[in-house]
Amino acid sequence: MASANAWVGQSIKRKEDRRLLVGDGQYLPDIVLPRMVVMGLVRSIYAHAKITAIDTTQATALPGVRTALTGADVKHLGPVLSDMSTPNLPGETKRPLFWPLSIDEVKYVGDPLAVVVARDKYTLEDALELVDVEYDPLDIVLDPERALQPDAPRLYPDWGDNVLYHQHIPAGDPDAAFAQADLVVKERFRCHRTGGQPMETRGCLAMYNPGEGLTLWLTTQRPHIKRHLLAEYLNLPHSQMRVIMPKDMGGAFGTKAPLYREELLACHLAMKLRRPVKWVENRQESLMNVGQGRDQIHELELAVKKDGTILGLRDRILADCGDARTAIYVGFAMPFLGAMYLINGYDIPNVDIDLTCVVTNKACLTPSRAFGSFAGRFALDRAVELAARALEMDPVEIRLKNAIKTFPHVSAVGVHVDSGDFPGSFAKTCAALDYDNFRKEQSEAWQNGRYLGVGFSMGVEISGVPSEVLVPMERQPGFGVATVQFDAHGKVQVAEGDSPHGQGHETTIAQVVAGELGLSPEDIYVTYGDTHSGPFAAGTIGSRGASYTLSAAVLAARALRPKMANIAAHLLHIEAGEDDFVFRDGHAILTRDESQRVPIARIAEVALLSPTELPPGMEAGLEHTSHFEAETAGMHSCNVHAAQVEVFPDTGEYKIVRYVAVDDAGQPINPMVVRGQIHGGVAMGIGNACMEEFIYDENGQQLTTTLLDYHIPSSLDLPHIETIEHNVPSPHTPLGSKGKGEGTPGMVPAAVANALEDALQPLGVKITELPLTPERIWKLIQAAKEKE
């Protein structure tokens, strides 16, 4: 029985915010245990070198130092990657062989080669300086195209080349499509190295005793997945391995989804020393090791008819995966999914995608919000813009012509898109921009020497990943799971297996469960993060909160209603079942006579405190666990973004005058939370597209290891972000809700680049590379002027 849920669609204030705003958040570094010691890493100062000697004697002699280990001391633990921690993707995969500490050879600046444990952080840093390492530098390779050359330096000599992963994804008949084309757009697009950089860096705290085993507090998006991989690696029975994500985590953006070498070391050391071992990454380490994503070259061709119909696509993608020594994603899972999502919201029937992932002497790519698809979406939406310009077609018209029109839709490469409405989204976008008038304003501005432009991007955003896809790819389930459990006082605990860290689950799950049970969100408390108290789930990844996890909570709440009705009927001494009651205002109310009602708190009391009052034969307790699996191979939301800019050609500086995001959340549970996800996603997208870049010098030294050099925008650097809802409920979730969060940054680079290029039409500038720094724009303008 799907009754209207009274709390759905309400922008109530977030339950999380009070503790966060007043400083009551509980983060990993806040946890202190008796006898705790701290861990730190000695990291390579060379991008590629043989380690000829490591001497830890001076470090271990320092008072307060407990131990120091090198690669040789951890070799017995075995290689990090197993079948379980390596993606199982179609195509040719090679597996880097490595240990928690590098042995004999380092492969990037920041590569951990020794670990030190001390009583406090000051002593620890003194000791780290005392570890003496001798290196014999080797040739390095930093450029992915250079990495492909036969004489390039090799990261893994036994591979025979530097190719980590290769896959060819053909669909339809691309050769025929190109033969029939009136126009072929061919361009090379380059997306730089950028990604996520959470406010809170990585960290963990490991505690071991032989009775209970190992407990690891960990900044992670996926406590359950980490648990089973850690148990496997450490050779512990699953019953002896517990992972806890602390109550609060200062963001992740994908960077806390992989399994990292440092976590394995902390666990090993806690077992070895029989002391709690804590590791908190510093900002330099974070910028040196995680959040580095994107970094792709696309050589993309579109086959287009005169009327703008895109017949086919060819793309040769080259992804620079860095050293590829990070478990679960191994640097190539992101480019793989990016390739699968390349054609995205466009209906392109004939496709030939060739993806090559190479290793270089840089940090391994880590997941970053918009998982793998940031670079490809830039390339495709830029190529479509170039096609429109060549055909003198309006950029909206060409997109509408090629957008997915009928749902459900299965893309040429097999991505299932359940629902959406691109024409409706474009209509709202154009109305918000006053698009027709803008074109007039733009021509007038050009005549007056001002450069105004508008750019669009469109795309589908992942809304959770179903088991059907996730099981073969990552050997993990995609279902959402939640346990809804009444306590004896009529309040409800919802335990989820994911680990929210900014997504607002405590609020939105409370809203839907309250609505299903006739309670108020204040009556609901959501718990998460501890593998020993929450159900097994894949974690907070891929926009699965509002699609999968929340849907499981809805189903679990609904599953309680028959029993609640039976208890109410028994207490009212009447014959009635679930259909005879509504649950509203904290009561089970008999629909045929609303004066007949039982407080829900009374029902819970009977079920738990006073079971002697239960109907004869009924089991005590009032709880249910649901596993939600959508009956489809993929759910998505369809979104359109537009940027309006003014460019100042003397300097290449520009102002994003307006940023309009028309997003589909299916059925927003809390529209304010949805807007927050979009604001954050656009901000990250603008930072990534316009300002941020991980820069390596010719020796492989990273030059952007402080936030002074890695330029994350603040509110002062961002435009007002206009969010407009255009919701098409998903037919596959109980409330029609869709996930929101993962995809948004991917919408930004093409929207802004298209707008800049549009503004500069009189100067004939073509933008093919990111980031969109003013200097890059200025140089393009200079080059265009020289051509004239």
């Binding site: 952080k121 000051y122 620890l124 840093e125 003194d126 300086e129 510093n282 900002r283 330099q284 003397d650 300097t651 500086e653 300002m691 820069i695 030059l703 952007t704 002074l708 050099d709 330029h711 994350i712 925008p713 603040s714 002062l716 650097d717 720094t773 200097e775 200025w778 140089k779």
Partner: protein, 291 residues
């Protein structure tokens, strides 16, 4: 990101005591004012002082007042105080603008003017601004004497300044600007609050008819220290500041100030930003001078 152990920490309450401590501890000691450069350097272990002499308890080192035709700014005046001081906002708006451009609110609440000048980062906001105002530093010495030094001479190079181990900058002095004069400051940076790609400070004095009597233009964000655009300034002398002249000044400044490549920008782009920014800033300074 944790500093090396410090052996001595002192919190003197007057200048004489600071100087005595400097004499005793000399090269092993670092002065802690706002800590906005020193603390990060210590956390990165690029600075490892044995002794910290904390200036924050020293009385009357943060005064801002005009005296004998000169503006005195105490060494410990915080950026936020300089940015909001009525006297500075009214008569030295370019200095207020420079202070307002530094970092973020937390940095401006702690950081001090003398700390920034002694640190001598070529891309910092204060150095070009204080140079454009012909500012001097008053330095107290352990022997009881004081010396006064032009900021131009005090800045020796990137992160290098002319300060002895037993010396303390006690205040900045700036001549009270003449009637019909005005200044302006602008910075171009990659994100708000960042160090400059380039910055420009200009101070212009006009005669009553609007003809430029004197111009000072200083460009920051260049190596080894902010550079005076002398030729650009001399172009303005005796002329009315019209658009053509301003553009010429921008060209001249771009030609005469040396620029270099770094992670933030290329030398060529810096030249272009100087070319564009000098006219904007001089124009604004001229408007203020005429008000």
């Amino acid at each position: 990101m944790y500093p090396k152990a410090i052996e001595n920490y002192f919190a003197p309450t007057d200048v004489a005591e600071v100087l005595t401590l400097l004499q005793q501890h000399g090269e092993q000691a670092k002065l802690l004012a706002g800590g906005q450069s020193l603390m990060p350097l210590m956390k990165l272990r690029l600075a490892e002082p044995q002794t910290i002499i904390d200036l924050n308890q020293v009385a009357a080192l943060d005064d801002i007042r005009e005296e004998n035709g000169r503006l005195h700014i105490g060494a410990l005046a915080r950026h936020a105080d300089v940015a909001a001081h009525p006297l500075i906002l009214h008569s030295y708006p370019l200095l207020a603008a420079a202070a307002r451009n530094i970092g973020d609110p937390q940095i401006r609440n702690r950081g001090t003017i003398a700390g920034s000048l002694v640190h001598a980062d070529p891309s910092a906001d204060y150095p070009p601004a204080v140079m454009a105002l012909d500012g001097q530093l008053v330095v107290a010495r352990a022997d009881g004497g004081t010396r006064t030094v032009w900021l131009d001479d005090f800045l020796a190079g990137p992160l290098m300044s002319d300060i002895g181990e037993d010396e303390l900058v006690t205040r900045i002095e700036i001549p009270v600007p003449p009637a019909h004069s005005g200044g302006a400051y602008a910075k171009r940076s990659q994100v708000a609050g960042d160090f400059a790609i380039i910055s420009v400070a200009a101070h212009i004095a006009l005669d009553p008819s609007g003809v430029c009597q004197q111009a000072r233009i200083v460009v920051g964000g260049v190596m080894p220290k902010p550079g005076r655009a002398e030729q650009a300034a001399s172009l303005l002398q005796g002329k009315t500041l019209d658009a053509t002249l301003l553009a010429q000044a921008g060209e001249a400044a771009a030609e005469e100030v040396e620029t270099e490549d770094d992670v933030r920008a290329s030398a060529a782009y810096r030249r272009q930003l100087i070319r564009v920014t000098v006219p904007e800033v001089v124009r604004q300074a001229g408007v203020r001078a005429g008000e």
